[in-house]
């Protein structure tokens, strides 16, 4: 038994790695549409079900199949007529098996699906626990959870009933009938001729042995069914087409100047509603382009496209005159530094977090980067300095400090193009100043695309794009836009309200 289990474990290990790497290769689009819980259950539960199949089902089936064939051969050698009687049983057995497979497959599918829904619900409520507790949604979620649970229970009950009827009882019935036929045959023939007791013994013995593997196979059928269903789901994920946008990796193009051009780019997340319509602008090397606009105006979408998280539908994005699709992923990631709003810190030391396990970056460069963005002040005050352990996604640091670490991370990689998603206002004034200073330094000599929430921080930008519902409605420098007295002017007044009136 040991060898086969070992193989099964190897296989499942391989399958799991396949699924995991596939998940990493998927585009962000897939994750918008699929609940995390159901992906988790693909990698864990479903592969586990497949393992069960390899361990118990296949071995049982091969073993039972061999035994059945062997028994039949022996029967025919011993007594052809009697063996023919036994062959009559087979269609009945097959009928029961097919019927069982059909019914159980339906309920199994149902059950697995419910289980996956349960997982998804659980994951959702765990992720949103904060909101759930604040808005007292416990009751509602409990009810929703309860409802799915109930459906799961019902599917399970149906399956148990089918199992109870078709597994042992039906097979046992056929066995008894077969036994009656065989004994009758012997009884009837004994009137006309002498029969050998030994042959009776062998046939009864064989019938006994015959039904054991059949029963075994029937009992394994659910596992087999489960594995097939799990297999479908795993393979569906493996065959998923929503990959991360493809890059032509062998072109060997490099980003030297950092000129970015958007040419009539349109994009939609769901394929229906365009979140970006005909966006065109140019950021010359070393220039800063700021994106402003209300929430949902498409600022983040522009960055998502530029970073190649999503594939755009129409138009083209050019870097140094070449379509962004023609650069290798590595080149893009190396030359474009992204600083996100909520910096994600990994478990490890601060040094690791800045270097991101890139061996090419030496310790001095890490410290240099930290000094460059003024992060070394607080890092050096920490216990162990740069070797300080980051736990719980950096929860022990203020968001400003995390931001500075993220800056250092970007600077350590020394990109040609800087993409900034400016942090919203939850930073204390002192850190805010440090961040602004760091940002100004970082932008020097780099083409920068920045999302700005506070207009005060981007007044010196070379070009400001005002977005509204996916369109560029105004563009120009700070002064030009103010003179225009349009949307930008209104936003500026709103943010600086009182100060403007005085001046």
């Amino acid at each position: 038994m040991v060898k086969f289990q070992e193989i099964a474990l190897y296989i499942v290990q391989q399958l799991r790695i396949d699924v995991f790497s596939k998940v990493q290769a998927l585009g962000l689009k897939y994750f918008d549409q699929t609940p995390t819980g159901s992906i988790v259950s693909r990698v864990t539960n479903d592969t586990e079900a497949i393992k069960d199949m390899f361990v118990t089902v296949i071995s049982t089936f091969i073993q039972s199949g061999c035994l059945l064939i062997g028994i039949f051969i022996a029967m025919f050698i011993l007594d052809v007529r009697l063996a023919l009687f036994c062959v009559v049983i087979i269609p009945f057995l097959i009928f029961v098996m097919v019927l069982y497979r059909k019914l159980s497959s339906r309920f199994y599918l149902d059950m697995r699906e419910r289980l996956s829904q349960l997982n998804a619900k659980l994951a959702e409520s765990l992720q949103g626990m904060f909101v759930i507790q604040v808005f007292r949604q416990e009751q509602r979620l409990r009810q929703e959870f309860g409802r799915i649970n109930e459906l799961h229970y019902r599917a399970g009950m149906k399956k148990i009933k089918i199992d109870g009827l078709l597994l042992r009882p039906a097979i046992n019935l056929i066995y008894t009938i077969a036994l009656i036929i065989v004994l009758n045959f012997f009884g009837l023939t004994s009137f006309q001729q002498k029969i050998e007791i030994g042959v009776i013994y062998v046939f009864v013995n064989y019938l006994d042995r015959f039904f054991e593997p059949v029963n075994q196979m029937m009992q394994r059928l659910p596992l087999f069914q489960q594995a097939i269903v799990a297999g479908v789901r795993v393979f569906r994920l493996l065959d998923e087409k929503a990959l991360a946008p493809a890059q032509k990796s062998e072109t060997g193009l490099t980003i030297s100047k950092g000129r970015i051009e958007f040419k009539n780019v349109s994009f939609s997340y769901d394929g229906n509603r365009n979140v970006l319509k005909n966006i065109s602008f140019t950021a010359n090397p070393g220039e800063t382009v700021a994106l402003v606009g209300h929430t949902g105006s498409g600022k983040s979408s522009i960055i998502n496209l530029l970073m190649r998280f999503y594939e755009y539908n129409r138009g083209d994005i050019l870097i140094d005159g070449e379509s962004i699709r023609n650069f290798s992923k590595q080149e893009l990631r190396e030359k474009m530094g992204l600083v996100l709003q909520g910096p994600f810190l990994f478990y490890g030391t601060i040094k690791d977090n800045i270097r991101l396990h890139n061996k090419a970056i030496r310790d001095e460069q890490v410290e240099e980067a930290a000094r460059f963005v003024q992060a070394h002040h607080f890092i050096e005050q920490l216990e162990d300095g740069f070797d300080h352990k980051v736990v719980e996604r950096g929860g022990a640091f203020s968001s400003g400090q995390r931001q500075l670490i993220a800056f250092a991370r970007t600077m350590a990689a020394n990109p040609k193009i800087l993409v900034l998603d400016e942090a919203t206002a939850n930073i204390d004034t002192e850190t805010e100043e440090a961040i602004q200073k760091a940002l100004a330094k970082m932008r020097q000599g780099r083409t920068t695309i920045a999302i700005a929430h506070r207009l005060s921080t981007i007044q010196d930008a070379d070009l400001i794009l005002v977005l509204h519902q996916g369109e560029i409605v105004e563009q120009g420098s700070h002064q030009e836009l103010l003179a225009l007295k349009g949307l930008y002017h209104k936003m500026y007044l709103l943010q600086n309200g009182k100060a403007m009136e005085v001046s």
Binding site: I11, A74, R209, V229, G231
Partner: protein, 91 residues
């Protein structure tokens, strides 16, 4: 959610073969195990026949001679022992 998955027999077979294709790298071990399996199956099928021979050829005619019965018994025992051993080795 992905909705319900309805499967036809053919699709199920396709999935099965795809799953089985993962065993390819282990063909050698598996075929070895298969040979062992055939041996045990053979043993299981032959032993009742030995009993039959005993009943029909020796017990019923009351021909209880030592030598053939001893051979019969030894072969039967041997098969059982070998089978137990193979069962342990198998897979």
């Amino acid at each position: 959610m992905e909705g319900k998955i309805e499967l036809t027999g053919r699709e199920q077979r396709k999935i099965l073969f795809r799953l089985l294709s993962y065993t390819k790298p282990y063909k050698k071990i598996i075929s070895f195990a298969f040979v062992l399996l055939l041996l045990t199956t053979l043993g299981e099928i032959v032993s009742p026949i030995l009993v039959k021979i005993f009943i029909d050829d020796y017990l019923t005619p009351r021909k209880l001679l030592f030598t053939p019965l001893f051979i019969l018994g030894s072969v039967y025992m041997g098969i059982q022992v070998v089978n137990a051993f193979l069962l342990y080795l198998k897979w």
